[in-house]
């Protein structure tokens, strides 16, 4: 076979390969985006059923969703639980990551292992455990318990993110500040936290979105005041309803924007 033929054959093969790759990616994207596309499209449905045929765009269901007191108060609860649990998760995770990165002590591997353990257990177990303990201690279900469970779930993640972003170069700056007379809390607040800001913000956003979206422990551990996913769960009992599409679309766009923001922060940190 001559060199030209080889190249010719290679060219064809390459073309087929590229075609297959593109086709496969396109097919997967269709599958991945199908539910989101249907959800968003039929949130604008001018009719009672969010299925074809599409009757034309209306913002009616968005208005309905935003006028639904139950959904709105649930959204408020989700926001408070999300922000509160994310804040505490990041603080606890950051402190633990700092302790493990800057000090040496016995049992470090064990501590590290324990701190990430909840990540390997399903939410059902975390929720069940707290439910059993609460009923044992005669504590009524409430948003406090939901918040506690979300910290158990998200703190390991915040810890892992902070741990990954600590590096030895930062130690020198901390030492310099300490040499110049800064106390430990001051070093932490004025040197370490600003240096770690992108990771901390990314961890916060991630914990917030996960808490915002968490259903199972919120369902188990709350009763009268509920979070948004539990309220949406309640809506589902009424069957298919464009109002659910509307609230779902709003949550999707909000969460996607936050997630892209968090990724941008982490990516920027890595490339700089």
């Amino acid at each position: 076979m001559s060199a030209v033929q080889t190249r010719y054959a290679g060219g064809w093969k390459q073309l087929i390969c590229k075609g297959l790759t593109a086709t496969y990616i396109a097919a997967c994207f269709c599958f991945i985006f199908a539910p989101v596309a249907v959800l968003v499209l039929f949130s604008f449905q001018d009719g009672r059923l969010p299925v074809p045929p599409f009757h034309g765009p209306t913002l009616h269901w968005y208005g309905q969703a935003l006028a639904n007191d139950r959904l709105l108060s649930a959204m408020g609860h989700s926001f408070v639980v999300g922000a509160g649990s994310a804040f505490l998760s990041v603080v606890l995770g950051f402190l633990a990551a700092y302790g493990l990165a800057r000090y040496r002590f016995r049992g470090q591997a064990l501590v590290r292992g324990i701190l990430v353990l909840p990540m390997a257990v399903s939410y059902l177990i975390v929720g069940m455990g707290l439910l059993v303990m609460a009923s044992w201690l005669n504590i009524a279900p409430s948003l406090w318990l939901v918040c506690i469970s979300h910290i158990v779930i998200n703190m390991p993640l915040a810890f892992a993110i902070c741990s990954a972003q600590f590096n030895p170069a930062q130690v020198r700056m901390e030492m310099a500040a300490a040499d110049l007379g800064a106390s430990l809390p001051r070093v932490l607040l004025q040197i370490t936290v600003p240096m770690m800001a992108p990771a901390l913000i990314a961890a916060f956003i991630l914990c917030f979105t996960l808490s915002w979206d968490e259903f199972l422990t919120a369902f188990l551990l709350s009763r009268f005041d509920i979070t948004l996913p539990v309220a949406i769960w309640g809506l589902l009992r009424g069957g298919l309803n464009p109002q659910t599409n509307a609230i779902g679309s709003m949550v999707f766009f909000g969460a996607a924007a936050l997630a892209l923001g968090a990724e941008y922060l982490m990516f920027r940190k890595k490339s700089s």
Partner: protein, 286 residues
């Protein structure tokens, strides 16, 4: 190791102080509840006595063994299908021309992650409904004449799960594919290996960590999930988390629910131990 061993007790104090809030939190709200769950699971609510009766029931009563079986088969099908579908996607994305395009494709591939978890299953209900877009499209193409009954079935549950875990597996597999040194594959080709052979003996083995992490996360998240089977499954093949929730909501039987949750935890621990070898971060020099 040496350095750690020679640390004095006084020096280890500050480090322990920093980790103690997080440790105490997990002790109080994760470890203690788990212990409480174990204690409660040993309590028989019918007779008021302590023993392993609840566990015996989980493994002997038909309703529970069925649920256990359904959970295991569902998880196995979902884990395999997700990996098989996600691998080519991750591979295709990793073979795109520039790093920027790859990153963009990856970001878009996981964007539906951010739909609310409850809403995602609901959205599949819409897609698969008898009058939904999928059936409408298939009928318009003349492939079927009566709508497929896809919604409210185990197939629907599987589709909903696979949709989620394709995204997850693509992330983990892509992450390990891009870490492989391209020179290894080039060297294999230079030495005369075919493209297939190169893939099978170089690329695939080196991407096993990504596969293992994806598989592990899929198993844990799938077997412990209540929402997807509850919304999409139509109460046909009930899985373990659904029976757990039924015990809590209908029968108010926390001991039984605890016992079943612990069985779930043991299954997850087994999955972890089986995949541990691959999950451990690679030590330098190994």
């Amino acid at each position: 190791m040496n350095k750690v061993a020679t640390v004095s007790r006084r020096e280890s104090l500050p480090g322990l102080l920093f980790v103690s809030p997080a440790l105490l939190w997990l002790l109080a709200f994760f470890a203690a509840p788990l212990l409480a769950m174990i204690a409660v699971s040993l309590h028989d609510s019918a007779t008021g006595q302590y023993g392993i009766g609840n566990f015996v029931q989980v493994f002997t009563e038909k309703a529970y063994t069925d649920a256990l079986f359904n959970s295991l088969t569902l998880t196995a099908v979902v884990t395999l299908a997700s990996l098989v579908l996600a691998y080519p996607l991750a591979y295709s994305i990793a073979s795109l021309r520039s790093a920027r395009i790859q990153r963009l494709a990856l970001t878009f591939a996981v964007l539906p992650f951010w739909t609310s978890y409850v809403v995602r299953s609901y959205a599949w209900l819409l897609v698969l409904a008898p009058t939904g877009p999928l059936n409408a499209a298939l009928m318009a193409l003349g492939l079927i004449h009566t709508p497929l009954r896809l919604a409210y079935s185990t197939t629907a549950t599987e589709i909903g799960f696979v949709h989620f875990f394709i995204m997850l597996d693509t992330l983990t597999i892509y992450a390990s594919l891009v870490q492989i040194n391209p020179r290894l594959a080039l060297a294999a080709r230079d030495l005369g290996a075919s493209a297939l052979r190169t893939f099978l003996s170089i690329t695939l083995p080196l991407s096993v960590p990504g596969i293992a992490v994806g598989a592990f996360l899929t198993i844990v998240l799938c077997i412990g999930d209540y929402v997807t089977p509850q919304i999409l499954g139509g109460m046909r093949a009930i899985v373990l988390p659904q029976t757990v929730m039924m015990q809590i909501q209908k029968h108010l039987d926390l001991p039984m629910a605890s016992a079943m949750s612990l069985v779930l935890t043991v299954i997850m621990a087994v999955a972890y131990l089986a995949l541990y070898r691959f999950l451990r971060p690679e030590e330098p020099g190994r």
